[in-house]
């Protein structure tokens, strides 16, 4: 199965009592199987909206999205999602959280146990298998969330600022882990972030978005060989360039906020 994502002519308008918010305007992207793509942009530019449309949680107002050759009409396990808020089920232990998707799929007990064991191993969670999420650190929780999605064997992984709430060290750690998993499992990854450095560290390709309406400002390939070093001149060169692009949008965002404040 090819794990291509094709977004064609996608628009999304949120109708609110005061006014209509054009969150996405004429978005066209094709993400090839096995690509690691970051969506980058300031707060409110529509990154989550686009990701949720691909995930099938909130369909576009117009335009089409196909994933692995099938039009997206709703959420499904072939497009596993990792949320910023972890979204682990707090009443299930680590192992139960990972097993849940497999039970839903209807796999046999032995098969589930074997798979859960191997994933606990992959993400260094062995010692935590019987803990509840409340007893885990943020980094550990996000590991569980990643394991839960890996369990689904989904060819496509969608991630909405998954490391946004973590400290710098844990964050780097999980980024490396994610790159390792991406290579080992050959996933197609669509990853939302507003950290320029994170996007350069991870992505094959960075899609920079504009603020209101959300359009594609720049489709940037990252040719720096991995493992990438943030101290590397090429890394910094790209960082400056992207920083300039994001800052322009950030300023429009700030101006908008000021306008809103003046109305109040």
């Amino acid at each position: 199965m090819s794990s291509q994502i094709i977004v064609t002519g996608v628009n999304k308008v949120f109708r609110t009592p005061e006014k209509d918010v054009v969150a996405l305007k004429d978005i066209n992207i094709t993400i090839e199987p096995g690509q690691f793509v970051c969506l980058l942009g300031p707060s409110g530019c529509g990154k989550s909206t686009l990701l949720n449309a691909v995930a099938g949680f909130s369909l576009p107002s117009s335009g089409t999205i196909t994933a692995s050759g099938v039009p997206v009409t709703g959420p499904g396990p072939e497009r596993g999602m990792v949320f910023q808020e972890y979204a682990l089920f707090p009443w299930m232990t680590v192992a139960q959280n990972i097993a849940f998707g497999l039970e839903v799929k209807g796999l046999g007990k032995a098969e589930i146990a074997a798979k859960v064991d191997s994933l606990l191993d992959t993400l260094s969670l062995k010692d935590f298998r019987n803990r509840y999420p409340k007893d885990l650190s943020g980094g550990m929780r996000q590991r569980v969330a990643i394991a839960r999605v890996l369990a689904l064997d989904s060819p496509i992984m969608l991630m909405d600022e998954p490391f946004g709430a973590l400290d710098a060290l844990t964050r780097r750690n999980l980024q490396d882990e994610l790159l390792r998993i991406w290579k080992a499992f050959g996933k197609t990854i669509l990853f939302v972030t507003h950290s320029i450095e994170e996007s350069i560290y991870l992505a094959d390709r960075i899609v920079v978005m504009t603020y209101r309406p959300g359009t594609i400002k720049r489709d940037q390939w990252v040719d720096i060989p991995r493992p990438r070093d943030p101290a590397d001149p090429a890394f910094n060169e790209l960082k400056r360039e992207l920083g300039r692009l994001v800052m322009e949008e950030q300023q429009r965002h700030a101006a908008d906020e000021l306008k809103l404040a003046a109305v109040d």
Binding site: M81, F83, A87, F89, V104, K134
Partner: protein, 271 residues
């Protein structure tokens, strides 16, 4: 050692009060009918705990004899009514609450009725309960289940309605179908609310059982203390009240233990 000190500390006020009470009673400051000495109450409590007849192997087993005391019989009768009534009330409220919480149509259909009925105290149903069910246990069961029904219903509805959308989204992403969503996601997510409702419900049930026993049956702790009043046995009344208090405490401890076990995953319960 620390624990021992805390317990000792907690005993100071009750012991002082008991000593004053005993002194007043012995000095004849208050009539025995108004306020019997604590020692008399304790003695009465102990007497009614023990079997009234000497052990007779022909009449039954030793165990049956050991539990034949009036107090134990009454405590058992009251507890039985609470548990049956609660099981009926909560057993109906739980599925009703799940349905009303999950389905806005059903909610809109039944909510007005619930809002009208809910404020009527179960005790106001006593006359109707007797007309409908006559005497004996059935009216008690009816009243107690009413007392348990509404707290469980309201909290279950609230619990289902307050399930965090992120869990629903995560579950839909995993490919969960509606039935599994209900049993494995919505129900567990709502348990903190449901258990709160059950706790309030069993408290109400316990109040209602005492009142209902004062009207339609001839055993149980409520009946016993009312009966004692007719003979002006205030020591027996107070002994009965203390038993009611102890049973209430036991129910609360039991609910708390269940709560802690079922919600061991819950954030708010770290010790």
């Amino acid at each position: 050692m620390k624990r021992f000190k805390t317990i000792l500390h907690g005993l100071i006020v009750p012991v002082i009060l008991l000593v004053i009470w005993e002194a007043c009673a012995r000095a004849g400051l208050v009539s025995e009918v108004v306020l019997p000495a604590p020692s008399a109450v304790a003695l009465k409590w102990w007497q009614s705990l023990l079997p009234a007849q000497p052990f007779d192997p022909a009449a039954g087993t030793y165990l049956a004899w050991a539990f034949s005391g009036e107090l134990l019989h009454d405590a058992y009768a009251s507890m039985f009514r609470v548990l049956v009534g609660f099981a009926i009330g909560a057993g109906l409220a739980l599925p009703a609450g799940l349905l009303m919480g999950a389905n806005p149509r059903i909610y809109d259909l039944f909510n007005p009725l619930v809002q009208v009925l809910r404020p009527i105290p179960p005790i106001a149903y006593i006359p109707l309960a007797i007309l409908w069910f006559g005497l004996g246990n059935p009216p008690s069961f009816f009243l107690i289940s009413l007392g348990a029904f509404f707290p469980v219903l309201m909290n279950t509805i609230a619990g289902v309605r307050h399930v965090d959308g992120i869990y629903l989204r995560a579950a839909r992403n995993l490919g969960v179908k509606p039935l599994t969503m209900f049993t494995r996601v919505i129900l567990p997510a709502a348990t903190p609310y449901i258990l709160t409702g059950m706790r309030i419900g069993i408290g109400t049930a316990f109040i209602v059982v005492i009142v209902s026993e004062m009207i339609a049956v001839n055993d149980g702790l409520g009946f016993r203390i009312l009966e004692a009043r007719e003979f002006m046995w205030s020591d027996k009344i107070i002994a009965g009240m203390i038993t009611i208090g102890l049973l209430g405490l036991a129910l609360d401890v039991a609910m708390n233990t269940l709560n802690n076990y079922l919600l061991r995953w819950h954030r708010g319960l770290e010790h």
